[in-house]
Amino acid sequence: MTADLGFWVLQTLNALQLSMLLFLLSVGLTVIFGLMHFVNLAHGSLYAFGAYVAATLAGTFGYWGGLLVAPLAVAALGAVLYLTLIRSQRRAGPMAQVLITFGLIFVAVDATRLVWGDLPIGIAVPAILDSQIALLGVEYPAYRLFIIALGLCVLAALTLILTRTQIGAMIRAGVDNDQMAACLGINVERMFFLVFVVGCALAGLAGAVAAPVLSVTPDMGLQILIPTLIVIVIGGLGSLKGAVAGSLIFGFVQTFGAVLLPTLSSVLIYALLAAVLVTRPQGLLPAKG
């Protein structure tokens, strides 16, 4: 099995697909933390909300309509959350933030059960991507390649924005030292809001993209939360490079662990996380040197 090139290609693609999904989720969470020092445990719930919106709209507007609207809807929800809860708790310390967003998870799970019911909702892969593509000797679903491509596009766009534009420079300055950035005339408050909403939109996008692959259930947000947190802690809270590295490490360790070391696979990633925390408590690629 392991001597076959096709096996490695297939598992690599699987790992990349998982990595890209986690990247979409973790990048928002990590930049929000790096900039605002805010821990949002409810980020997974935003992802679940995105999946539900996409699944609901897919019936009337088709898959692409759902994919377009879901991030916007989640961004709107994120804006409401920011103005009502998050802004006032920014300086409240990690415990208050963990508790408030933990409470939000409770509310979100029950709200989705109330609106959409307990049963999983499935949505179909769009017709144009509902095929297999031959790649290096393996047949791979086109939709999963689309997820990889989308993740890479978002990564490229974010890298360009953060490193080449003025707003990107402002965000990097804010992550480095928000008070100094404010003294230099940057409207840090507005930037926080913008980053938070964009992070939420990315979580919604991840949910919409994941909906046809995974089943849409009320606890999907809770299930994805722990992997996302592992990604950003391994990578280093607050850094884009860290989110990329963390997603790739998680995706590959999880995928290859499951096929090569099935008895250890579930413990492997936590052991890795523990090792990273012991040797480099700030993560592998922390935002600040």
Binding site: G93, D110, L229
Partner: protein, 326 residues
């Protein structure tokens, strides 16, 4: 620093008297709830010890409880130990595990500490979830209750079991209070306020943190043994991080860093859970809203609120007397 104020002692005495007389009068369902409250109360005492006094907010206490419950069940079912030695073994092993976790996490603070404990907790959860030795996701059944027939007590009777559970809570409280009044407890509170200063004073910081975490882990395992004996069934769900999250919620709702408050919180939480879930299946949402409201209002939980009002009143009386003297 931890002190037994008159208000705390009075509350504890009232709780003890109230729960014992309730155990005497209640029907089967009430006794079940009492045992459930006792389990949660021991867990939150353990968590308040490290989180409230030491500032070590742990998300692995569910896992420590679960490890205690599993070790107890396996030791009693497969290793042929009777219930009491099995409990001792469970408490000692969980305590050793907690010492190791505490030692490894001692360098991290704030959100990193929370994440690190979460990682260790989830590691234990995933291991138990897929391990054939521990029954995987089916869990294990058949945990025995201690055999006290020699002294004329039959713990298979739910009234006797409820009293036994209340006594375990009292024991856990005494252990926690004794720890906090010892040198270790004082160092723990000191570490919470100013770690650098204690380091400069020559304290071995990691050892103090790990020791406190070990005592807390021992108490969590005691709660695990009680849970296993109560339902006589253990499942991986006991180790899940949401159990730790819920315990943290109870500590906050009751009053962080008061040791008495979390017990009040445990009673309120279990009673509310049963009352609200009888009306609506969406009781988690209501708990979530209460939690958000309490944290946003910066209230120190139910007992913390009463305590601060009591102190205000006391301060006013003192001020009035001073005025009268002048």
């Amino acid at each position: 620093m931890f002190t037994h104020t008159p208000l705390r002692l009075t509350t504890l005495a009232l709780l003890a008297a109230g729960s014992l007389s309730y155990a005497y009068a209640a029907g089967f369902f009430g006794l079940e709830i009492l045992a459930e409250i006792a389990t949660l109360a021991i867990l939150v005492i353990a968590l308040d010890l490290v989180a409230g006094f030491g500032g070590m907010v742990s998300l692995c206490h569910g896992a420590l409880l679960g490890v205690g419950a599993y070790v107890f069940t396996v030791a009693a079912n497969d290793a042929g130990l009777t219930a009491l030695p099995a409990m001792v073994l469970a408490v000692v092993l969980s305590s050793a595990l907690a010492f190791a976790i505490g030692a490894v996490c001692a360098r991290s603070t704030g959100i990193y500490f929370i994440m690190a404990t979460l990682a260790f907790g989830q590691m234990a959860y995933s291991y138990v979830f897929q391990s054939p030795l521990f029954g995987g996701d089916d869990g294990l059944s058949g945990a025995p209750r201690p055999d006290l027939t020699a002294i004329g007590i039959d713990l298979t009777d739910s009234r006797a079991f409820a009293v036994y559970a209340i006594l375990l809570v009292a024991f856990a409280y005494l252990v926690a209070a004794r720890t906090l009044r010892s040198g270790l407890g004082r160092s723990l509170v000191g570490l919470h306020h100013n770690e650098k200063r204690l380091r400069a004073l020559g304290l071995t910081v990691w050892r103090a943190k790990a020791s406190a975490f070990a005592i807390s882990g021992a108490l969590a395992a005691l709660a695990g043994c009680l849970a296993a004996q109560h339902t006589q069934y253990v499942s991986p769900g006991l180790l899940s991080w949401t159990v730790s999250g819920e315990a943290l919620v109870v500590v906050i709702l009751g009053g962080l860093g008061t040791l008495t408050g979390p017990i009040v919180g445990a009673i309120l939480f279990v009673v509310l859970k049963h009352e609200i879930s009888a009306i609506t299946p969406y009781w988690h949402a209501i708990v979530g809203i209460i939690l958000i409201t309490v944290v946003m209002s910066r209230a120190k939980g139910v007992f913390g609120f009463i305590e601060s009002r009591w102190d205000d009143r006391g301060a006013k009386t003192v001020a009035k007397e001073a005025e009268a003297d002048a």
